[in-house]
């Protein structure tokens, strides 16, 4: 009976949250940006790295978004920048999620482990994240990997605390007690009974995690320790446009719109899912 109810709720969970106006708007925004990134090679045949004499040009038929300070096609750079951000997020977020969840499960094993794990989360949250970014880059040198590592580290406490809270609530429920009374071992109760019921909030955390990844990638580019030029990334293009804001404000327009659409869409999805779970 319980499994049936849980199963039904699960199956309805995603649509239930996302069918709202907010959820649909979020899916549309994120969908358009992600598709544009995935289909970049089909949408444009301009090389995002090819320089030309036509610097800081306005939009035209050949260059829909104009060109940047080195005469590179901005349309192509923004689309390939989306790809870079997607690739970084898709690598870093799952690593951070798995590490965070592993720590949360470890915390559930004993009181001492719980205290230790909580301190680890506090430390990761309290330490100024962008100084961590500077330090990691100083060790590894600038490039794509430091960005991935910093994002993964930053995602750990979010997932970990969410799952820990879920486990604490679920393991006091009657079904967990019943499983204990039925003779199941602590590990079995935790992994087979409590864990599957505690993962729902992690879906919301997933949407938040991707917008955090976009944030960190951009912030690191602004600090000069992000994805190494000339490779395009959303934050990189935006930070390069800063120097030309007063003379060529159009340069910043496209990356600005794409980043805003992406993070706003992810936030709307997270909020819609959150309401879907609470209901």
């Amino acid at each position: 009976m319980t499994t049936l109810a849980v199963g039904l709720r699960r199956r309805r969970l995603l649509p239930a949250g996302l069918h709202t106006l907010r959820g649909t708007a979020g899916v549309l925004l994120v969908g358009v940006v992600v598709l544009a990134g995935l289909l970049a090679p089909l949408l444009t045949d301009a090389d995002p790295l090819a320089q030309s004499g036509l610097a800081l040009a306005g939009p035209s038929g050949a260059h829909p978004f104009g060109t940047d300070d080195l005469g590179r096609d901005l349309f192509s750079r923004v689309l390939h920048g989306i790809r870079t951000d997607l690739l970084i997020s898709v690598t870093a977020v799952p690593v951070g999620a798995v590490l965070g969840c592993a720590l949360a499960l470890l915390a559930a094993t004993s009181r001492g482990a719980d205290v230790a794990v909580q301190r680890v989360f506090d430390l990761l949250l309290a330490f100024p994240g962008l100084i961590l970014a500077l330090a990691v880059t100083a060790v590894l040198g600038p490039g794509r990997w430091p960005v991935v590592i910093v994002i993964a580290l930053a995602e750990i406490p979010g997932f970990g605390r969410q799952l820990r809270a879920g486990i604490l609530v679920q393991r006091e429920r009657e079904y967990a007690l019943a499983a204990r009374v039925g003779g199941a071992s602590r590990a079995r109760v935790l992994l087979r009974h409590v864990l599957p019921n505690a993962v729902d909030p992690l879906i919301v955390q997933g949407a938040i995690a991707f917008s955090l990844a976009v944030f960190i990638e951009g912030a690191m580019s602004f600090l000069g320790v992000g994805v190494r030029p000339p490779e395009p990334s959303l934050g990189g293009i935006l930070s390069q446009s800063m120097a030309y804001l007063s003379t060529h404000p159009g340069y910043a327009a496209a990356p600005l719109l794409v980043v805003t659409a992406l993070v706003l869409g992810l936030t709307l999805i997270a909020e819609a899912l959150n309401e879907g779970i609470r209901r």
Binding site: P128, L130, S211, F215, L223, P249
Partner: protein, 314 residues
Amino acid sequence: MRTFLLRRLPSGLLVLLAASFLIFLILRLIPGDPATSLAGPDAGPEAVAAIRARLGLDRPLLGQYLGWLGDLATGRLGPSYAIGGEVADLIGDSLGATVELTLGALLLVILLGLPLGVLGATVRRGPVAVAVRALTTTVLAIPPFVTGVVLVLVFAVTLGLLPAGGHESILDQPDLGVQYLLLPALCLALPSAAILGRYLKDGLERALAEDYVRTATALGISRRRIVLRHALPNALPPAVTVLGLQVGQLLGGAVLVEAIFAWPGLGQLAEQGVLRRDYPVVQDLLLLLVAVYVAVQLVTDLVYTWLDPRIRWE
């Protein structure tokens, strides 16, 4: 209050000690020897060894660590390796700018967060409610570097009202200083203001559902007075805790905002220090940040007990 401080201070000092050890170790993990990079590419091994000896880098790690702690205790921070000048002067010069930025942002967080929370809890429908909700969501979602670029585009490029970046000390030239401060402080403050507003809204909604509010309403007390004099004082303590946590966020966020607006603060100094392997600057700076964080936590707890007399200083 004295017992409260006596109980809390040792754990704070312990956190500082642990942090100092971690900071020291992490910096030593960074590959590359500061002496080699200081000596330059043409220097022979003797020159590098001489620099190592002068900087004390030839001593065992534990000795270096204890030496650093001793210097800190006696207030001698020593010279920087690469940036040049005394560490104390470098930090002193940038500290003022960052404190200015953080305090300005904190003021804006309170000025924006309070009305946002009160409006959110009291106006439940209509265009104002929709606007407050949309504003909170947007501000929370959008990263500071996007807000920063938009603020510059609107207020500096299009309207030409405020400078796009740079810094003038607010103490030397108050009118000019405020103009330079406004955009970076706003950029730094917006997300925290939204968070404060959200917590305050939740707290106020809970407080407004309490029995004493119904009693006050039955007594004919005006809605305005009930919200501001009855419900708000009860909703403030948790909001102050959030505000305390946000101070930590503001300090961390300052690194990014300083980079966007070319603001010569601690964040810029930290960036230079890490990239140029200037151990003394970076380790003193990081420890300072942790110390401020610990102090803010302590002050937050003190303010909390002051706002909520039910909690005793024990």
